[in-house]
Amino acid sequence: MSKIALIIKREYITRVRKKSFLLMTILGPLIFAGIIFGTAILTNTKNENQRVVVVDYTKSFCGILENNSTVHFDYNYCSIDSNVVRSIFKDSSHVSVMVIPKMEELGQIQLYSKDDPGSDVVSAIEYQMDNIIEKAKMKAENLDQKTIDMVKTSIDVVNHIGENNKISNSDYNAVLGYISAFIIYFFILFYSVQVMRGVMEEKINRIVEIIISSVRPFQLMMGKVIGVGMVGLTQFLIWIILSFGVYTVGSKYLQNMELNTQNMQTEQTMKKGMPIQDNQTFSPGKLTTERTINKGEKIYQVLNVTNWVLIIGCFIFYFLGGYLLYSSLFAAVGSAVDQETETQQFMLPVTAPLILSIFIMLSIITNPQSNMAVWFSIIPFTSPIAMMARLPFGLPWWQLVVSMVVLIASILGTIWLAGRIYRVGLLMYGKKVSYKELGKWLFYK
């Protein structure tokens, strides 16, 4: 077995055997999903229910407003003077006093609270009041409920891309782009830092001199980079298999649910991927009822349309590419310093493009074909993340090819550069390294 293979094997096995790898592999997706759902849940629910004491000078809203998960309306003080009620509750937490003025001044409602009740409470009140007043006005104009329901409309835009009329959903693509870009960012950073730590461990342990008396520093660096990269790839593949399993089980469940709630005719319509049939007469009533079914079905449908092979293939390519690029730089950083704390000064410029690309990603998702999106998906230091964000929206083949070629070329350059720093840095002890110093190392014999 060649020496570099031995090094790869050691790096791979010692890492995969660790308990933390197993934990990370299993818990990683759970934590990731947990973060996404957790934040979604946290933003949607409030721990404390806000009590809103209603003072109503119109005498028409008392008892009409409905409680929900955030707001609880209290009608016990409806007809008491607002100043009195305010003074009662002026020191109570989670209590607001809502003063509805006389009919002719209705347009503004005053809400008094000790602490800011938050936007959820305000919007809940605004929404309900708007609805009630709207309905009252419509009633006054003699519109019956049927007409009101008919007026309500919701149109979905179905995106047809290219000659094949591939159906695309921008919202869904955005989520997919966001998630895959974020995962690739996380993977690159996480495993590059592992490489850096590994290099530092060897340097601080002083085992490095023993090893590089047997192998060349470049072999050691590449062995470590490749070994750790394979760990990352293993982890990714396990995740893919796990989520494929979850998806298969989940979609079966979803299908069963749909069969129960839908008749066969609509089912067939959806299967053809055509939301509106040509022979279907335009009936407003049908449009509204169908809409609710449409949503769940649509995600399922787009999941099937998405080119998973392309996305996963590109993910692996850009993960490996971005990882090779950054991990060799991180290896150089690790070799240049003696202590973890010293890494900070070199970490910043190395991670800056990664962080930058996360910011850029957000704007790429809203505008995936802009000039900026194209450029950043070609520039090698941002391309892994930018490209993953763009990919679900589709892009010309030549851009993908150019981006890949540029990435490969810069990997070779970066590895060469990092190798030169690494070689010198490994045996430098007790010296605080500056950028000038690093520059000199590049030209050492």
Partner: protein, 267 residues
Amino acid sequence: MIRIINQITAPDSGEVFFGDEKITPRHTELIGYLPEERGLYKKMRVGEQAVYLARLKGMEKRDAESKLKDWFKKFEILTWWDKKVEELSKGMQQKVQFIVTVLHQPRLLILDEPFTGFDPINVELIKSELLRMRNEGTTIILSTHNMASVEELCNYITLINQAKTVLEGDVNKLRHRYKEHLWEVKLEGSEELVRASLNHKFELLDYKPFLNMSVAKIKIPENLTPNDLLKALLPICTIIGFCEILPSMGEIFISSVKRTNPVSYNS
């Protein structure tokens, strides 16, 4: 220079030859190197790590394992095989490192301060192994500041001070070259008589009582021989022991460095 031989750094100028061939990375498998600053992977198991390091030196797995077991037995550390390195003390780790360095039977062994961190028993163990390998034909380069071990182990020394060779040659020849004709005489007799009889011709540098006798340190001038000294002493005392004092390598070290670089040593 050690790093240049090990192909870790490139020389600014000059060339290194291994035997008759110019040195190449291929030769690293023929070299065993124990650096001064040395460590092991803390989280790895001892045996596994030793096998890994041996395989990096080009050994086959099975060969490495069986040889390692032999060495571990010899050093009485076979029970450590499955321990993690971080559980071992520094001295224990040093033993493992030493074994790994010599395991692949290198033709050239380079040791940088090999005895630091060892207790006297293990120092003796290592020394005897080194002497055995020397006798079997291994070339050993020992880099050390411990002059006593130099006298004991080395055939040939090179003294380097501030990147310049100050002194080099066969150890025994050097000690003879630097001798100052000092002799140690163990005797029974009175100090006054000894002083009186030596007075003119020999220089009495030191005179100490030792158990029930005395030890005298005497310098013989160049025109006289040890026999002349004996002749002078025989009538007045009983001579129990008589031997020449050769300078230690430590003394030679100090005097040579002082000679070549008086400023830095006087300040």
